[in-house]
């Protein structure tokens, strides 16, 4: 039995969950900073993104090392491939959180165009999706992975609602165009997080079944 290899895989999985936690926290912090118009916190979030990036490279290096030294096959091979793919998605989610933090800084000296209700709601769903997807990964739960992608539809619906609302505000008052565009940018970032979680769910299905599928809710 390859005990050392199995230990290393467990450690890798733990690192992956830690990275996912870092990303979920970054998204949460960025939305809190937006609600509280906290520029200081937004700057910190942007600075902290480096830790997520470093974590991604650290995990990637570990995967490369295991490929080179252990020649993984079957479930082990699929897990390493899944991890490599998932860390790319997580790293991009970190960038989306950083993007929202940038919007916080850009909007800091401008009056709000509307009360923030739907964007925090989107963030709530996105964060929940991240947590649920990693739980499905840990439990190798294909059915849960499929269910999570249904939440992405909810996120898409909210985004379109925000889009329509902001467009009508811009039409009514063109002086709000810059501020509304920044808010659209934030909503779009949250919508993209949902897409990235869907990618993770596809990788969970690959990890468990060996099947590479898209639009998994429809399968």
């Amino acid at each position: 039995m390859r005990i050392a290899f199995q230990k290393h895989l467990k450690k890798l999985e733990k690192d992956l969950f830690n990275m996912a936690k870092m990303v979920a926290i970054a998204v949460d912090r960025s939305i809190t900073a937006m609600k509280e118009r906290d520029v200081h916190e937004a700057k910190k979030i942007r600075k902290d993104d480096i830790h997520i990036n470093n974590k991604r490279f650290d995990i990637e290096e570990q995967c490369i090392h295991l490929f080179a030294t252990q020649q993984p096959v079957a479930g082990d091979l699929r897990e390493l491939i899944a991890i490599l793919s998932i860390i790319t998605d997580l790293e991009r989610m970190g960038d989306y959180a950083e993007g929202i933090a940038k919007v916080v800084i850009l909007l800091a000296d401008k009056p709000p165009v509307k009360p923030l209700i739907d964007i925090p709601r989107m963030a709530e769903i996105a964060i929940d999706m991240i947590h649920r997807s990693l739980r499905a990964y840990a439990e190798r739960d294909v059915e849960a992975a499929r269910q999570i992608t249904l939440q992405d539809d909810e996120l898409d619906e909210l985004y379109h609602q925000i889009f329509r609302e902001l467009v009508s505000i811009m039409i009514e008052n063109p002086r709000t165009i810059t501020r509304c565009t920044y808010l659209l940018w934030s909503a779009h970032n949250l919508e993209r997080i949902g897409d990235r979680v869907t990618n993770i769910c596809e990788r969970i299905i690959f990890l468990v079944t060996g099947e590479l599928v898209e639009n998994i809710a429809k399968h």
């Binding site: 039995m1 390859r2 199995q6 020649q71 079957a74 479930g75 091979l77 079944t209 060996g210």
Partner: protein, 293 residues
């Protein structure tokens, strides 16, 4: 190889004619409705049906049914004592030479049972050649004589033909360029990797249809191993190859299909790429990922 084939068929004993004949009544498989579907996918060169091998009261291989497709490389994997070598030795009647062993079930070559009483095992071993774990050059023979030993054994003396076959077999075994200037040197003067390729050349010289390789690289260094692996890729264009290996990565690299054996039983067989990425049986997964064995 056409000259060689003509020369060899002149020496065929009675039993061989039944192997070459298409009129044998022993093959019920030809009338099976699934046969057409099978041929659409891939032609069977060999097949075992309910093959069981016993050593006295011990069962080495139990009830194994497995097709071996034409010009494929089939890897047999499994932990020590799982029956993979026993299974492979049954494919060319090597158990005939082991006291107390018995074989039941069928081993078909081109649809004909090689265990039929009419069949001469010597002819079978010529059609189904074997390469062993350790290189086996005849120590007192030259490189040349090692290669043509099988042909001389059946009475072929035509010098020009022997020269042609020797060169061709050595080329097939990717050894000719290294030994062409010293064909009269003893086979044992070659390096381990070269000796193994010489053994392969000797097996190829009699123009086999199937080549059985029992851990052919286990006693070789990495460079010689990779030469043999490359050679297997070239040879499969001409012969069907069955290889027993303990090296998972080797099985993954060289074979088209892989069969996993455990305690004498065939657990799973399928395309190598599927078996090593998504095996269907838990036992297979546990073995190839090193969780046991």
């Amino acid at each position: 190889m056409l000259n060689l084939f003509n020369a060899m068929t002149q020496f065929k004993p009675e039993g061989f004619s039944s192997l070459l004949s298409n009129n044998s009544t022993t093959n019920t498989h030809e009338n099976m409705p699934m046969q057409e579907k099978q041929e659409e996918k891939q032609k069977n060169r060999m097949e075992t049906r309910n093959l069981t091998v016993r050593y006295g009261s011990n069962v080495g291989v139990e009830n194994v049914s497995l097709p071996i497709y034409d010009k494929e490389v089939l890897a047999l994997i499994g932990p020590s004592g799982c029956g993979k070598t026993t299974y492979m030795r049954a494919l060319n009647r090597m158990h005939d030479l082991t006291r107390g062993s018995s074989v039941t079930g069928e081993v078909l070559l081109d649809g004909k049972n090689i265990y039929h009483s009419d069949v001469n095992p010597v002819i079978i071993r010529r059609k189904i050649g074997m390469v062993f774990q350790k290189p086996t050059p005849f120590p007192t023979m030259s490189i040349y004589d090692n290669v043509v030993a099988g042909l001389k054994l059946v009475g072929i003396r035509n010098r020009a033909l022997l020269d042609e076959v020797c060169e061709q077999a050595l080329r097939q075994a990717a050894l000719f360029d290294e030994v062409k200037d010293r064909l009269r040197s003893p086979g044992s003067s070659l390096s381990g990797g070269q000796q193994q390729r010489l053994s392969i050349a000797r097996a190829l010289a009699v123009d086999p249809e199937v080549l059985l390789m029992d851990e052919p690289t286990s006693s070789l260094d990495p460079q010689s191993t990779s030469r043999i692996e490359e050679l297997i890729q070239t040879l499969k264009e001409q012969v069907t190859i069955v290889i027993v290996t303990h090296n998972m990565q080797q099985a993954a690299r060289v074979s088209d299909r892989t069969a996993f054996f455990y305690v004498g039983k065939l657990i799973e067989a399928g395309p190598t790429s599927t078996l090593f990425t998504n095996p269907s049986k838990t036992r297979t997964e546990e073995y190839i990922t090193g969780r046991f064995g």
